[in-house]
Symmetry: C4
Subunit: 198 residues, 4 copies
């Protein structure tokens, strides 16, 4: 059975738009105790940092997602369920984001939270790799425009690189949670600029 | 009065995308008491299990929903309201999911929660059966491509099977809430693979 | 300046889909004290009743909204802002619903909550009347298919009837909050069947 | 790499529809202490005022956003990321709105909250200016219908005016938080009428 890509994109875009907007529910109004609202807000910097990184990450996922499906007109069920897996991973991002924001400065627990954030990113990277394999595999080749095999392999290599990089980020989490968050932010900015130039 | 299927799908896809994403709001950041974040997270396994099963269920509902409407170009009001009933049932899933997650390990109350989760699934199954009957009934036959009567009856039988299976799951809930959750997960995986092969 | 109806519908459908799904966030997991989960859930019937009525109301708003815009290809700014007013009224429904659910059985406060729920419905009815006037006014007549003036007046009369009926419902709220909720439910069911036959 | 505008609009409309609907989650059911529900609700006027202003603001953003992209068929990556920046700013509006509602009457903290609300609006205005520059820059000129350079400069001037006006609103916040909220409301109404006439 096949499925129009437009329907798949409508659902996917909906999930990603909601996930990026739900992130803001975890920006809580702080209670002011002693100092002013400035200092109360300043103490929430882990929330704002985690928010900013995750919003950028979901934005880039959205751009990548469209890039994957642009040449595709019709999808079959393996692609459908690979996509569903990726979407579930995206819906989990607001959870790992609020976990990281809550525990970032809590010593060992912060490292656990940062590692789980990295696992979420790794799972996303796996999702893109599997999705790309499902879309470009031979049995699906009649379903869309010709994808240049060289470009397809290059794209797969890029997705594969994500697997390595996010695995490293999980390791970095056990050195320092803040460093891991900085690394995720740097990776997101790198991917954004990388795509700007491609 | 008739109604373009595209409008019906836009609303339906929106509701399903939001429902699957709202599930994550019930993955709460745990408070660490005594042990580490690992153990605090591990204690939340009922939330994660219920989340995973419900996310898969809503994903499969989305696939099924599109399958029902694929041959349909225009819908009439009975179809419209059958669809509205199904959507309301879908929006209730995040509620029964968080109920199940909260009470899974609470003895008799867990059995009640699991039974209500099963009732939600049964109501969904009823929704699909009614929707299918509304779409394929004779008066609506001019509104869409010819649906092979043999295939239509086979599909109805499949939806009808859901009625039986989810009724059994309600019964299983009163034996063990965890067993009922495992059964719902197994059913979702079965339906996913079943659709992969069709 | 003009605006494609498809864009207006995309935004409107998004808002309505989110509003109907957000309703479920106010179905809270009850705390069991003394009795079983059954009795704890049973005590929440005001939440479930208010939820059911509001979900049906938003569903009917969605059907009506599409009916209003079906003959329209392009909208101008008065229509755009009339529509925006209607959407804001729709987004407020989850608030008045949770207010009604929380205070339904609280004597005079329940009557206030039921009256405010009625005001929300009245504001929605005003929104549809204004929207219909904006869509069918002479200056907009070149923007869409010919609307039969007799049908247009009949539709306006229907929308106007809503103004009367919801005003009465506000009065009924001060007799009994529960009666007002029953009346809103009956009206929603009446409108659903009325549309089924038209 | 280029990107169809329809995909960009689908994601953007989704984010804006969700942001405007999420605002209502911060309209809380008040607890009645002493007086009636009337007085408890009346005390929440900062929430309702902030809600009304922000809902109108997001509505106008949506109208403006479509106006910017109407002549555009295809976008390139600079436009894509300028748009992503604008969307992230929009998702933050529910946060600064609830911050303003919570602290409006809290003396100096209210002024901070109002100033941050103004910063959010300023960031939105910057977003529209950058987006407009990205859309109308020479390298992107082949991607869409001819935009009259005079009209393009006039539009840029309008967006630039927003920069000035919202900067003033930030200053006004330090005189009076309530006055700043009134100013934001007046600006929103002005922009709405301004667009009604254009």
């Amino acid at each position: 059975m096949t499925f129009a890509t437009t329907r798949l994109e409508a659902f996917s875009v909906g999930v990603m738009a909601i996930a990026i907007t739900l992130l803001v529910l975890d920006l809580r109004v702080p209670e002011v105790r002693g100092g002013s609202l400035w200092s109360a807000l300043a103490k929430q910097w882990p929330s704002y940092s985690a928010y900013a990184v995750s919003a950028l990450v979901i934005g880039i996922i959205w751009v990548n997602h469209h890039t994957v499906f642009r040449p595709v007109k019709v999808v079959d069920r393996p692609v459908l369920f690979a996509n569903l897996y990726l979407l579930v991973v995206v819906t989990v991002i607001p959870f790992t984001t609020r976990l990281l924001a809550a525990y970032l400065l809590q010593g060992y627990d912060g490292k656990i939270a940062a590692a789980l954030y990295g696992v979420n990113m790794l799972a996303m990277s796996v999702g893109f790799s599997v999705l790309w394999l499902a879309v470009t595999r031979e049995e699906a080749s009649l379903l869309h425009e010709h994808v240049d095999p060289v470009a397809a392999r290059a794209a797969l290599k890029r997705f594969g690189l994500g697997l390595v990089v996010y695995s490293i980020a999980i390791g970095v989490a056990f050195i320092s949670a803040v460093l891991a968050l900085v690394l995720h932010g740097a990776l997101a900015i790198y991917y954004a600029f990388d795509q700007l130039n491609s």
